[in-house]
Amino acid sequence: MADVMAPPRRRLPKMGDTTISLGLSVLVLLALAVFFVVPVIAILWRSFDTGAGYGLGNYVAALSDPRIWELVVNSLAVSGLSAFCAVTLAYFYAYALQRTHVVWKSALRMVVMLPLFAPSLIQAQGLIFLLGRNGIFNRFLGFDIEIYGFWGVAIANTLYTFPYAFLILSAALAVADARLYEGAIVMGARPFKIFRTVTLASTKFGIAAALFVAFSLSITDFGNAIVIGGNFDVLATEIYSKVIGQAQFHLGAVIGVILLVPAALSKLIVERISKKQHSQVTDKSVALQIRPNRKRDWLFGTYAGLIVGVFLSVPLIVVFASLVKLWPYNMSFTLQHYRFDVQNGTAPLWNSIGVAMATAFFGVIAVFAASIVTLKFRTPLSGPISFLATLPASIPGMVLGLGYVLAFNSLSNPLNFLYGTFPLIILLYIYYNHAQGYLITATSLKQISSTFDEASTMLGGSALRTLFKVTLPLLWPTLLGVGVFFFMRAMVSLSAVIFLITPQTQVAAVSVLQLADRGATNQAAAFSVCIMGIVILMLLLVRTVLWAAGARGVTLIR
């Protein structure tokens, strides 16, 4: 991706810069190797373990089984559909926020992030509360909806990937050069043509990146498919059956490798789509002023309202379920579910807050460094780094989690001392979510023209000086948003961390799983409400700090 993303290099960098660029690139690559590549290889090489030596036997067996091909088709169909829906819906939503005068923008931004605020387990449960055979629609409103199966998974995955697509697309639509629009208007282009030739064309990279992320997240997610898929199986649930159901790592690993193929293909396609994306903010840019247009604002306002309704319904039903005695039989109000009797009580919540803050801080540094070395400091390592930086999106959490165990629990690993500690959990969260963080940052960074860098370099600024004096000041609102994103992910992700927790390092999402496992659905909902509350509080807190610091125009979620 890097080679097509990067602007052509117009002059040779100075000697000192090369050292810094190379040094930082090596550092980024090393970290990706140690905390991503090694664990993934540690688990995936097992796919060659046939029980009688190493070979391709498992692959031959798997690929000659017609069942696998059916799963491939299922996976591609459901992930393709939900990626398409999520990106389309998110694009117009982001458009409404960035290019029209709809009201209550901050609230609109917050609401569609809600799926990131609670463990996906509880969101799927919320969807069943709403649309299940005994859910609100069927039980109280007289509908006859059957949610389990292909459509259920497609809906759940669309909701689940929408916020990621929105974050990327919103970053892409945030900046625009008014001159292009004026030119188009002067030439007499109609609004739709302007949208197609200017807006869509200038956000190609964002669209491609959003499609890639949404598709990869859907195809690697097994949580929604397990809860709501019924008998509709996909590749990710097959890994779950092999590894968790039958303890056959080698067969699970084969499917883990197969899962990399569509992900890698989608990445290639994305690269083609995003070719020749130009920077949006150059030294000559004129910031786009959004013209008043009542009709347009009404149209997009209604659309945003509909989306908000959908995104509010699931968390609201979860909050409601946490406050009633026994959903759906006894709807009398109670606070009893907030008296948590799960092991360790609320301690995991506090652990998670610390872990999530550290993840946010170090996660931002990691993806910022990765974006800089791939987009601004061109070195021979830029290509491999850009490839590795987005690869984590194609690895199911369960696979990466087990890979961490295999890699870091081994006594021959010099980093073995990290095993069983919070720092390793933090590293897992950073690299598990690396692709999304990197793509949001890169999308933003791409909008900033390299002419700024060149001007700075020509004026005698070193690469580092340009970075701190030019790039960071333009990019920091995005980085703040990425930090918030990492924070949210570390509060709620479950599938990978389940293999790293120890009696001493319990995290909040696992408590939700324990409660749901033992049938205390209402209490699990209550615990999730606490997690959601913490995330919202954190957002408000950061907002207040920013406001107090005088940065009033900055939004945390772009």
Partner: protein, 332 residues
Amino acid sequence: MKFQTASITAALMLTTQAYAGEITIYTSYEEDEAAAFLDLAREAMPDVEMNMLRLSTGDLAARIIAEQGNPQHDVIWGFAASTIVNPEIEKTLEPYAPEGIEGIPAAFKSADDKWFAVTGYMAAFCVNNERLKDKGLEMPTSWADLTDPAFKGEVVMPNPASSGTGYIQISSILQMMGEEDGWALLDDLDENVAQYIKSGSKPCHAASAGEYIVGASYDMRAIKNIAEGYPITMVIPSEGSGNELEANALVASSDNKEDAKRFLDWTITPEAATAYGKWKAIVTMPGGEKPQQFLDAGLPKDTSDVLHPTDFKAAADDRTAIIEEWQKRYEN
């Protein structure tokens, strides 16, 4: 609160390195049971620092196998017998016969002393009373009843490929009825099954939530959901109920075997047996009365009347073949 302070202190130390007087226990007992048992164990052995990690059977099995190069635990406690015999897990165990092991019948322990089981669970249906009444159906009492076309689309079962509970249900039907009749029954059942859910407890939760009439699950899940207040009835299939044992074992790599063995000794004391009786429908050693709540839910006083004597060895040996055949018949 006590746990909380302990866990925060421990968390601050950021380490799991075991020292003398400390043991790490891996368990798949349900979270509330495990906490209750552990409280008692701590009382009985106040000088031993006990760290417990609770994960579901499948997650814990994957964890143990992934950690086998450098195991972090000293003891396995309450872990499915059909999974503990997995060669990759069994090879990490060390034979140990705790004091008083003679009290446990031979069927509930391994011949080479690698594991013994004090508790277990058996297959049971959760039947949603409300939904049953709405559809005007009779309370089913057996697997055969569930093949009645009236139940079409109203039965959910665990998927044996991803759930141990699901596997014991299938394997016990095949063991009880023989291959031919067993598969014939499963074929008929498949006509009515709406979903093969990928967990052993979720079918009961789905029936409890009123999503389906019948969820094939296991005894304690039904009893606990009744206690939560869900309008369900527990039915133990009249053909006989397949069962799973929850095994305890000593981990060969433990660096504190002395305390680990003391812990295992404690798990078969009469005191522990009494505690198990309050939480478990199957206790393999004498002692402990069944709580009234269990009997009210429909559990017989003597569960051996309804249990099918499972051949665990055969169940484990045939696992891959049976799951393959099952997938061929009922998936896709």
